[in-house]
Symmetry: C2
Subunit: 140 residues, 2 copies
């Protein structure tokens, strides 16, 4: 599984890459919580743990992790990407509260099916999709 500890070595081997302390630290940091953080946040957190890595290595390693589905890269239209660990690898989409900035995860099978149906109507099949709901709290 993605999430187990030794799995990083496996994908690195598969990719013909070496196992290094930096790569392990970066994956450990991303795994350490379920937030949706940007590269700079991740970089700062690693450094605050006393590990010296460069931004370049953070970006390079994230690419490997994204390619191997350990990490999901998302674009909320903020001008930079955010990343989250794919610990259980269950698909979900995001709802962003415009008042608080909270990010809520949701999954709705009907929505997933509907979008495939729409694509089919145009002669296509969905490869990937972006569903983002920018919301505000209902009046009580």
């Amino acid at each position: 599984m993605n999430q187990s500890n030794g799995a990083l070595k496996d994908i690195l081997r598969k990719e013909g890459l070496r196992y290094t302390n930096q790569r392990q630290s970066i994956w450990d940091e991303i795994r350490s919580n379920h937030d949706h953080r940007d590269a700079e946040d991740i970089y700062i957190s690693i450094r605050n743990n006393g590990v010296n890595v460069s931004r370049a290595t953070v970006y390079r390693t994230i690419d490997v992790l994204v390619k191997n589905r350990f990490v999901r890269k998302m674009d909320l239209g903020e001008g930079r990407f955010r990343y989250e660990p794919r610990l259980d690898d269950k698909h979900h989409d995001h709802m962003v509260c415009e008042e608080t900035g909270d990010i809520i995860e949701y999954f709705n099978q009907e929505l997933e099916d509907l979008q495939e149906k729409i694509a089919n109507e145009f002669g296509y099949t969905v490869v990937r999709h972006v569903h983002q709901l920018f919301v505000k709290p209902l009046k009580k």
Copy 2:
């Protein structure tokens, strides 16, 4: 209406801004077709028409047009924004063919309703949303 000719003057007046040739040229260029173009494309087209405007003015004017719903700004995750005129102002979402780059517009009321329902379940109401389907042609 947005799309009529004199409407630009109206929104500029409302915003306390002056009516200038540059602003008119930029809106005219964006209005001239229904493509989903980036700022550089728009800038180049205006210059090819023999009108001298700066990139800064293109960006500044687009902001005003977006704010006043003359133009829709979209982020397809390409690292730059694309813009389209809101000539009839009917809402639609986009499907992007990953093989050809074609952008197909679609609208599905069921989808629109469903996402509001999902937001409600979490105690929110949808302010805006992004729905993008990245697709490939069905095998024949």
